[in-house]
């Protein structure tokens, strides 16, 4: 039935759309010149991993280093987007240039995504100090956190001095994303016990600030007590406990205190140095892992070796362990490099 509709719509003259006439160089130069369109375009092309993206990031990297990156995570419904919006507004009031990366999951079925975090950020859409970018997880193997890092760097190069990365704290990918931040806020809400659930799920170690949002609802004190108790239990002697703050994004309460806490954190503490080392190591390894994997995979696919081995496994019942070690041996010639 749809044919006649398609006919109706397809024969019309199609307008030109996005042209890819911008070179990487001109986009990076545009970012430096604070051209918003250039930044948005560069982000797209880097996120798409278009050929040449790594060279572009090499050009971007020297322009970065002045931004602080704050991660915001928590369970669905905790009010992260509203809180992000309020924090951004508060930071702009204090003279900052803010970039926001809002991450939502891609559909595992279609690869598409419904990116709706902006729904809660309407009032900052037209503030020139704020740039918001919605990002889908796109099912990239460990690639999401790298892509988020890249986007944050482009925003940094543009001149955003604070970057907020907002993501749901479920799923390993999303947790990896907030780990790329300098400081991580964990958002809980009264009543549902979800906050505590998330803590158990392993976000506990990475959060630097705990926030009880919607604190005007009944049960806020209970959640606060729960969190404090947990932090006390797991703290090591002499280690300062992370702050636990109450906010209400809806009523704009506690936002200023939260901003104080975020900004007061002295840069360059020993903990920070350690964190930066961990992050650097992870980034190097993840980029390398990605490149090595891609190189090997494409070689196997192109040579037909992968197809052949798949058939052997299915038809001849060959074990996958041997398949992999043999294939790796062929590439390297040295079994000991890949054997473990």
């Amino acid at each position: 039935m749809t044919e006649n509709f398609f006919l109706r719509f397809m024969d019309i003259h199609i307008k030109k759309t996005k042209t890819a006439d911008h070179s990487w160089e001109s986009l990076v130069a545009g970012v430096q010149a604070r051209n918003i369109r250039a930044m948005a375009r560069l982000i797209t092309r880097v996120e798409n991993r278009e050929p040449g993206w790594k060279e572009a990031m090499k050009a971007v990297y020297p322009l970065t280093g002045s931004a602080r990156i704050f991660g915001i995570t928590g369970s669905p419904g905790a009010g992260k987007s509203s809180l992000t919006c309020e924090i951004a507004e508060e930071l702009v009031k204090r003279g900052h240039q803010v970039g926001i990366i809002a991450v939502d999951p891609s559909s595992p079925f279609s690869g598409g995504a419904l990116l709706g975090d902006r729904l809660r950020m309407k009032k900052i859409f037209t503030m020139k100090e704020i740039f918001i970018r919605s990002m889908a997880t796109r099912g990239m193997l460990g690639g999401l956190s790298q892509a988020a890092r890249d986007v944050a760097r482009i925003m940094d190069a543009f001149g955003k001095d604070i970057i907020l990365i907002e993501t749901v704290g479920v799923g390993q990918d999303e947790i990896e994303v907030v780990k790329t931040a300098d400081r991580v806020m964990m958002v809980c809400i009264p009543g549902q016990g979800d906050g505590i659930q998330a803590l158990k799920a392993g976000v506990m170690e990475i959060a630097d600030i705990y926030i009880i949002n919607k604190a005007d609802l009944p049960g806020a004190d209970e959640v606060m007590a729960d969190i404090c108790a947990m932090l006390n239990l797991s703290s090591q002697n002499g280690q300062a406990l992370p702050p636990v703050l109450k906010t209400s994004a809806l009523k704009n309460q506690g936002i200023s205190e939260l901003a104080d806490s975020l900004l007061s954190h002295p840069a360059g503490s020993s903990k920070d140095t350690l964190r930066r080392e961990i992050q650097a190591r992870e980034e190097i390894l993840s980029l390398m892992e990605n490149d090595v994997f891609r190189a090997i995979r494409s070689r196997w696919e192109q040579s037909g070796a992968l197809t052949a081995e798949v058939r052997k496994m299915v038809e001849e019942n060959k074990d996958p362990y041997s398949i992999v070690s043999e294939l790796l041996q062929q590439i390297d010639g040295k079994a000991d490099l890949f054997s473990s």
Binding site: M1, T2, N4, G77, S81, S82, D117, L119, R120, L250
Partner: protein, 585 residues
């Protein structure tokens, strides 16, 4: 009446045989997996208790109808001889639903209508700016002032509309309808203020505000504050109307908008009943006895689809659920509290009409009219066939619609029997089925904490969006057919000319200048009024808004009296209550 066990067994036995010997054979012969039709027998409604399930029209549980016959039916014969021309949406003594431009434009329109003999009370549509609690000078107002209804910025505008309503048309003689939700408290305050200035006792005022804010969050989108404070404002209007304006309906709720937004039949019924429960609780929390105000709650319409049997069953189930809920859950004793008072029963809903081959919509509307007549309402063939072609109906489409309704009433005589389906094995079984599914959904919402909670957490909004999408996919996959849209289309299509001469009720030139004229008036108002009195009234409102237990109506009336603008009043409440934030899809 106890069932005759032997008799039942006999029928059951016969049915089983029929299934095996007739149905299964037939199904096999056409190579089907199951029968495309169904048949209902006494086994479909075992232990059916007529008095408990149906009863008589006008008696609890109102399954067979809220009234044995309505006003229009009583005088249908007279109307036929006089050429009486009913106005759609103009039930109960109000004129045609409308409104455009500035108050002056709308006033002049009403004067023209009066000259034509259409003297019903104003049945006001407000522009979206007013509906969302803004003034005409708000940045949100650009391009929208006076467009889908009249622009009201202050009491002065409101009073202008009523200039022709004097003498025989004085507001103690004709009722008014206000299709307003989020700022309903302000409009009701304006109406009360008008009466006060004219020296008319408030208890003489009649009319209906829509005042159904909960469905705005779910379906129509003209909300302002979060659901909690919005319901508090409803409570305040409910208490105010009950105390001072006892002849004035408190609201006009319904599921029509919810269905049009994509809800399934069961969601429509469950959500509108859950909303009704929230309103009743709000009234009770305001210190009212349920029988003190429930008789003044009304419904506009719910339902809306082409599935005629289901829509009839839906109306029957709705009447029964509401009656039982109000009686059993809220302890009402007055029968009037328990009945659904609504001008329209079953109908097809505007979303059943199609842009493709628009004349088919007349056929569709007639089907809806039959369903309406069979479910206790006026057999209105609604809407006019050109509904999906754009805003506004042609004279021809309206004439055909009116005549279709007349043919159903006078020639087909569909409205001569109350609940003609009562006792039908099929209809009673279907009514039970819809009822029990809706009750289960209502319980789910109740367990969430009621309608307000189910809106705050986005449950209702997400549920209907998903249903709308499912419906769309069904049509695109051709699992369900819409003639001329996804079925029976092709190169043999004949193009049928459609008359699009739209009744020139609204002067397009006036619309063009409405915004400018409205801005000038607003500016003038702000210069002329007593600024100090305005600030004082607004600051009192603000102070009291912070205390949930205070009824805000007298403060709002004071603001209105002193020419505070609608947005100024709403802004004060925005500051205290916050604004509603949509949930993610």
């Amino acid at each position: 009446m106890p069932e005759n066990k032997k008799e039942t067994d006999k029928i059951e036995q016969a049915e089983k045989q029929w299934q095996q010997q007739v149905i299964e054979k037939r199904v096999a012969r056409f190579n089907l997996s199951k029968s495309p039709t169904r048949f209902y027998s006494p086994t479909s409604i075992k232990n059916f208790d007529f008095l408990e399930k149906v009863g008589f029209p006008g008696l609890y549980p109102y399954t067979a109808g809220s009234n044995p016959f309505d006003f229009w039916r009583a005088y249908a014969g007279d109307a036929a001889k006089t050429g009486y021309r009913p106005d759609w949406g103009g039930a109960g003594g109000v004129g045609k639903y409308g409104g455009f431009g500035t108050a002056e434009d709308y006033r002049d329109y009403l004067i023209r209508m009066h000259a034509m003999g259409r003297t019903g009370g104003p049945n006001m549509a407000f522009d979206l700016v007013t509906q969302c609690g803004y003034d005409s000078d708000s940045p949100y107002a650009e391009g929208e002032v006076g467009r889908v209804g009249v622009a009201i910025d202050s009491f002065r505008d409101f009073a202008v509309i009523y200039e022709p309503y004097t003498g025989n048309l004085e507001i103690d003689k004709v009722p008014s309808n206000f299709t307003i939700n989020a700022p309903a408290a302000v409009i009701i305050a304006m109406y009360a203020t008008l009466a006060e200035k004219r020296g008319i006792p408030l208890d003489k005022l009649r009319g209906t505000p829509q005042n159904d804010i909960l469905k705005e969050f779910i379906a129509r989108g003209t909300y302002i504050y979060p659901p909690g404070p919005s319901l508090r404002l409803f409570r305040d209007t409910c208490v105010f109307c009950t105390r001072y304006m006892p002849k004035f309906n408190i609201n006009s709720m319904g599921g029509y908008h919810i269905r049009e937004a994509g809800a399934t039949r069961v969601q429509d019924l469950a959500f509108s009943m859950a909303n009704a429960a929230a309103y009743i609780r709000a009234g009770i929390s305001g210190g009212l006895a349920v029988d003190g105000f429930a008789p003044m709650l009304t419904f506009n319409a719910f339902g809306g689809s082409m599935e005629i049997y289901q829509e009839i069953a839906f109306q029957r189930a709705a009447r029964r659920i509401y009656a039982r809920m109000v009686k059993e859950k809220f302890g009402a004793q007055n029968p009037r509290s328990m009945m659904i008072r609504q001008p329209i029963t079953a109908h097809i809903g505007c979303s059943s009409t199609t842009l493709q081959r628009p004349l088919n919509n007349l056929t569709r509307a007639v089907v809806g009219g039959i369903a309406a007549g069979m479910s206790g309402g006026i057999p209105g063939a609604f809407p006019p066939y050109d509904e999906p072609l754009g805003l506004g109906h042609s004279q021809e489409a309206v004439q055909l619609q009116l005549d279709a309704t007349r043919i159903l009433i006078y020639e087909a005589k569909v409205a001569d029997v109350n609940d003609p389906w009562a006792g039908s094995y099929f209809m009673e079984s279907l009514t039970d089925e819809i009822e029990s599914e809706a009750l289960a959904e209502m319980e789910k919402i109740e367990n969430m904490g009621g309608a307000v909670a189910a809106i705050e957490n986005g449950y209702m909004q997400k549920a209907i969006s998903k249903s709308a999408y499912e419906r769309q996919k069904q049509i695109e996959r051709q699992e369900d057919f819409v003639v001329g849209v996804n079925a029976f289309t092709g190169s043999n299509e004949i193009s049928v000319n459609v008359n699009r001469v739209v009744e020139a009720t609204y002067d397009p030139q006036l619309l063009k200048t409405a915004e400018k004229r409205q801005l000038r008036k607003l500016e003038q108002l702000k210069q002329e009024r007593n600024g100090r009195a305005v600030s004082a009234a607004l600051s009192d409102l603000k102070k009291h808004a912070k205390d949930e237990s205070v009824n805000l109506m007298s403060d709002i009336c004071e603001c209105v009296r002193n020419d505070a603008t609608l947005q100024e009043i709403c802004d004060v409440l925005r500051e205290v209550f916050g604004e509603f934030q949509q949930t993610k899809l």
